[in-house]
């Protein structure tokens, strides 16, 4: 049964819907395109100004001089803006059938029926499906497509938009600032507790299509919530680029968890920027799984600006043939009595490379900070690779820091043990790998954990000779 599900998923992931609307879109980037995006979306003047400023930064800032090779990424050959549908749908019935078919194969409506509190699904650059349970609306929770949020809550958006992730941060943050389109806005008012995870799915579909969705989350004092998204993109021959941005503001005493399972197609560049500002006694959790893309550069960041702020980073990366997973975590302890915990697991197979890149920074005036970093790598064969690059900038002498790293292979004795009980070598290996990432999988809602286990099973095919 597991196999049947797995192959269905794989097929859905690699299938492709025709995208006739792409004929009106064009490749490459210039000021005219940036102006067109703003005009099409009827955005306020400050946003156009922001886009143009970001575009200027994009031209000025060079590509990162470290990390994976990005020289094959042809920025002239990317479609920076396309619309899949002009309509906004409130109900599933209103979603166009070809788009619905894609989502059905990814299992979204079933998930919606089961435990979704709200769904925002991005089909290329336009959010076409968005719903939110009545209860949350009454509590003042805003869960909207970014384009709509900018129209309906302009001052709220302006107050926070790219104040956490500055366009000056790096070249792709600048690019994002210039061409961002769609995404999700989540606002949880003071003291409101959302106990079900809010979910959104993103999917890149048209060939060579960039995706620059913006996620902006504001969690007011004492509020709590959990947002989760899964990303997938079908497989194409032309390199595609994903440079999304996630900003989270966690106010005093609030708690927030951001989870994502990313499985962009294996030719995509996933150069995503995620960052949270965590205030006094607030808590931020990042839970992430990276399975797709040719190149991933993703290091969720928590800036602990208030005393007593805490953060947890949990992540899994799976690098298979032709993949470079350069992932990690950044924690910046600005205030005293702040603590952080990072647990990262990586798996390398078939010649893939996993690299943990971490930054831990403790500011001079931040006393009594605690940080614990734990990186475990599992290397499944002799041609794959795993590296750890932890950078620590500790400017305060009374911090407590621990860094643990392990690297290992699949144990032949473990596989023998499980196979002596009737499991095939492949089943045994998949079970051990799933066990390895279990500390992260168990933090995800069941359906995502199941999906992650299924992805591991797919990736493990043919792993044992």
């Amino acid at each position: 049964m597991v196999d049947a599900q797995a192959s269905t998923t794989k097929e859905a992931w690699e299938s492709r819907n025709p995208a006739p609307y792409m004929s009106s879109s064009r490749k490459g980037l210039d000021e005219a395109l940036v102006r067109q995006i703003s005009q099409d979306k009827n955005q306020p003047a400050w946003m156009l100004k922001h886009r143009l400023k970001s575009l200027k930064l994009f031209y000025e800032i060079s590509l990162p001089q470290w990390g994976p090779d990005l020289s094959k990424l042809n920025l002239e050959n990317i479609t920076y803006y396309a619309k899949a549908s002009d309509r906004q749908a409130q109900k599933w019935e209103d979603v166009p059938s070809d788009i619905k078919r894609t989502f059905t194969r990814l299992g979204i409506p079933q998930a919606e029926q089961q435990l979704l509190a709200g769904v925002g699904a991005q089909y290329e650059s336009t959010v076409i499906y968005h719903s939110l349970k009545k209860r949350f609306k009454e509590q003042g929770v805003i869960f909207e497509d970014m384009d709509v949020a900018l129209r309906e809550h302009p001052s709220l958006v302006q107050k926070y938009f790219m104040r956490c992730v500055s366009p000056a941060l790096h070249k792709f943050a600048a690019l994002h600032g210039a061409v961002w389109s769609g995404g999700t806005f989540l606002y949880i008012p003071k003291g409101v507790v959302i106990d079900l995870p809010l979910q959104a799915y993103f999917r890149m579909n048209a060939m060579g299509m960039g995706q620059f969705e913006h996620t902006l989350i504001v969690v007011e004092a004492g509020a709590q919530g959990h947002y989760i998204e899964g990303c997938s993109a079908p497989r194409y021959g032309v390199d595609s680029l994903h440079a999304g941005c996630v900003e989270v503001f966690v106010k005093e005493g609030a708690r927030f968890r951001y989870s994502s399972v990313e499985s962009w197609s294996k030719d995509a560049y996933n150069l995503n920027t995620k960052r949270a500002i965590v205030e006094k006694d607030a808590h931020m959790e990042w839970v992430g799984g990276n399975f797709g893309s040719a190149v991933t550069m993703l290091y969720p960041c928590s800036v602990l600006v208030g005393t007593g702020a805490t953060t947890d980073h949990l992540g899994v990366a799976f690098a298979n043939k032709g993949q470079f997973q350069d992932t990690g975590a950044k924690v910046i302890h600005v205030a005293s009595n702040t603590s952080s915990k990072v647990v990262m697991k990586s798996i390398s197979k078939g010649g893939g490379t996993s690299l943990y890149r971490g930054l831990l920074e403790i500011h001079e005036k931040a006393d009594n900070c605690i940080s614990h970093v734990n990186c475990d790598a599992l290397i499944l064969d002799d041609i794959s690779r795993s590296d750890t690059v932890p950078v620590m900038k500790i400017k305060n002498s009374n911090a407590t820091i621990a860094h643990e790293a392990t690297a290992g292979k699949l144990s032949e004795e473990d596989i023998f043990y499980l196979s002596s009980r009737g499991l095939t070598q492949e089943e045994a290996a998949a079970l051990i790998v799933n066990g390895f990432i279990d500390p992260i999988a168990k933090e995800l809602p069941l359906e995502y954990a199941v999906e992650m286990n299924r992805m591991i099973e797919l990736e493990m095919e043919g792993s044992v000779g």
Binding site: G422, G435, D438
Partner: protein, 232 residues
């Protein structure tokens, strides 16, 4: 190992005894198909089929089981989920049309067996052997034996490191398993487990070969006089 000839009939219990390093565990592992050991010559037959070249899971599907001397600890893999998979794999191997048990029915079966072994119910949802005491690990092996219902159970020093109470529980578990269709190959260093498990045959293994075979009386001689008399 060399020149080992051993035939076990249906319903029989054989004990292999011998000093440390005599090759007892090697024999157990070779029959189960541990890839760490290479069979350079010789054959292993199970129910008249040559299994020498078969993978461990194929041997398991045919009805061979080995309780490990040092059961592996596997982080993050829940005992009940793993055993559910193993059970249904074996059922399907026995009968391709079998749908196996549902999770619900399987858990019922699992927990009945756990009760017989005086195992706390929460063990089933823990990672395989992780953080288990020596005695708990051996009980978990007996649990798997009871659930998977093989035709041949190889017990590789299952009795070592057990206190009196645990030894009794393990002994009783093996006795519950035994019937006229099922065979046991017990590898042990000590004869104290033989208070509970009554063998039909006792073999003495020294230097990788069986030097003497006999009945239960052989174990008594060993207990009195040790292995020295068999070492040339």
């Amino acid at each position: 190992m060399k020149r080992v000839k051993l035939t076990i009939q249906k319903g029989e219990t054989h004990v292999i005894m011998g000093p440390n390093g005599s090759g007892k565990s090697t024999l157990a592992n070779v029959v189960m198909g541990n890839p760490r050991f290479i069979v350079s010559s010789g054959k292993i037959f199970f129910e008249s089929t040559d299994i020498t070249e078969l993978a461990p899971e194929e041997r398991s599907h045919k009805g061979i089981f080995m309780a490990f001397q040092y059961p592996r600890e596997i982080a993050g893999v829940q005992l009940d989920r793993f055993l559910f998979m193993a059970y249904n794999n074996i059922q399907k191997a026995k009968n391709p049309k079998s749908a196996g048990l549902s999770v619900f029915d399987f858990n019922k079966k699992l927990h009945e067996e756990m009760k017989k072994l005086c195992m706390n119910a929460e063990f089933s949802s823990r990672s395989i052997n992780e953080g288990f005491s020596g005695g708990e690990k051996k009980k978990a092996e007996m649990l798997q034996l009871a659930v998977l219902e093989p035709k041949l159970a190889i017990l590789d020093e299952t009795d070592s490191g057990l206190d009196v109470d645990a030894l009794k529980i393990v002994g009783e578990a093996v006795n519950r398993f035994k019937n006229s269709e099922r065979s046991v190959l017990l590898v042990t260093h000590y004869q104290r487990i033989l208070q509970y498990i009554k063998p039909d045959y006792v073999h003495v293994m020294i230097g990788g070969t069986i030097v003497k075979s006999g009945g239960i009386e052989l174990a008594e001689i060993l207990e009195k006089d040790g292995y020295q008399q068999f070492i040339k």
